[in-house]
């Protein structure tokens, strides 16, 4: 199958390509960038040196549609509103990595993104790209919107708790920690000022809140509010979400094990991590970098009726390109693990 990548000079575009060059079922036929047209891919994506002789092309919708069966769009939100629509109208399959088609509700989009969506009627055409939640819809979709990296990590931990109505939905605190690649290549702080930070960068009203609320509300059957605060920490890749929740009535650890096993027992890319021994006791992105896992664990604070659901992922993998490939596999009928059989790199 032939695939194209729009926004191939960015981190997410690069990671998508890193996975595609080794994917057994696809061939990369076109990659685009505005700034690097004509340049060899490896000049901008050094890890691809030796893997491809492709050069960047301009974004030409007709050529893309001509050359590709599926197109990945990995451009900043706002920008993707037009690109995705243009491709959609040409009938091609699209896997969008931006936030532009994640929210189904126009008002929500306008609130969280601070401008009016130019094509609100297309919002409903898009499937929210978390196979663990929407696998059947993804199979039939023309347009899949990959989730935000912190959003997917958090919601996979919270979903079973919401679905089973176990927690007080007025006090869901999602405290996230994320590495520097999460900011994209376009807006990264220089190393000297970014190294060593533990920086709360948007303690209230972060945009990913919107997606988490959408998905959890859908599961709950009523509107759920989430209190999210993201922090920048000194890693390049990786997310940890500490999801602090308060139990409606006290639950035992054993029931939690059961609940999470029921939900994710068959999932290939969710691992349950809650060990009393060894090096890996709770989810930590350190131990999944380079893989497509979302690791989930939990702990109980009986004094406060608090249930801490912990979840970790690699923001460029399950948080972006890994999810994109997983969605492609589901959409195109490939084995869901193809191109994603990566053991985490440890230690790194």
């Amino acid at each position: 199958m032939k695939v194209g990548v729009v926004g191939a000079s960015g981190y997410v575009g690069g990671e998508t390509l890193r996975l595609l060059v080794n994917h057994p079922d696809v061939e990369i036929s076109m990659v685009t960038s505005r700034q690097h047209v004509g340049e060899y891919l490896h000049r901008v994506q050094p890890s691809l040196k030796g893997f491809t002789d492709l050069t960047f092309s301009e974004l030409d919708y007709d050529k893309l549609t001509d050359k590709c069966d599926v197109v990945f769009t990995a451009v900043p939100h706002g920008t993707a509103t037009e690109i995705v629509k243009a491709l959609y109208d040409r009938g091609i399959k699209i896997i969008d990595l931006s936030a532009d088609y994640r929210l189904h509700d126009q008002a929500a989009y306008d609130k969280w993104y601070g401008w009016e969506h130019p094509h609100p009627d297309y919002l409903s055409k898009s499937v929210f790209g978390v196979p663990e939640l929407h696998r059947e819809e993804i199979k039939k979709a023309q347009l899949v919107s990959c989730p935000g990296c912190m959003a997917v990590t958090s919601m996979l931990a919270l979903a079973p708790l919401i679905r089973n109505d176990l927690i007080d939905t007025d006090h869901i605190v999602v405290d996230s920690k994320i590495g520097s690649s999460g900011a994209g290549s376009g807006s990264g702080t220089a190393h000297a000022m970014r190294a060593g930070v533990i920086r709360p960068y948007k303690p209230a009203k972060h945009r990913h809140t919107g997606e988490i609320e959408q998905e959890l509300s859908e599961i709950a059957g009523h509107k759920i509010n989430v209190s999210m605060s993201p922090h920048a920490v000194d890693v390049v890749r990786g997310i940890l979400c500490t999801n602090h929740t308060f139990m409606k009535k006290d639950i035992e650890e054993k029931e939690l094990w059961k609940l999470y096993r029921q939900t994710y027992g068959e999932e290939k890319f969710v691992r349950l991590i809650r060990d009393k021994k060894g090096l890996y006791k709770f989810p930590d992105p350190k131990f999944l970098v380079g893989s497509n896992f979302c690791d989930i664990g939990f702990d109980l604070d009986e004094d406060n009726h608090r249930l801490i659901a912990l979840s970790a992922s690699d923001n460029l993998m399950k948080g972006a390109a890994g999810s994109a490939i997983q969605n492609m596999n589901v959409m195109c009928g490939f084995d869901e693990m193809n191109g994603l059989r990566y053991t985490p790199l440890t230690p790194v």
């Binding site: 004509g38 340049e39 060899y40 000049r43 002789d53």
Partner: protein
Amino acid sequence: MNCPECDATLNIPDDASVGEIVSCPDCGADFEIAKKDGSNVELKQAESVGEDWGE
């Protein structure tokens, strides 16, 4: 045609025209197409800059 700097095979598109820049896949040297006459191509060097640190 080979790269004057490192001897790698340069990939010059048939429809390239005078003034266009071609870049060597291996060493990154940039060349401007100075003359072109069928498949006979003459190149001239273009400049590029490095990082400058620790001063």
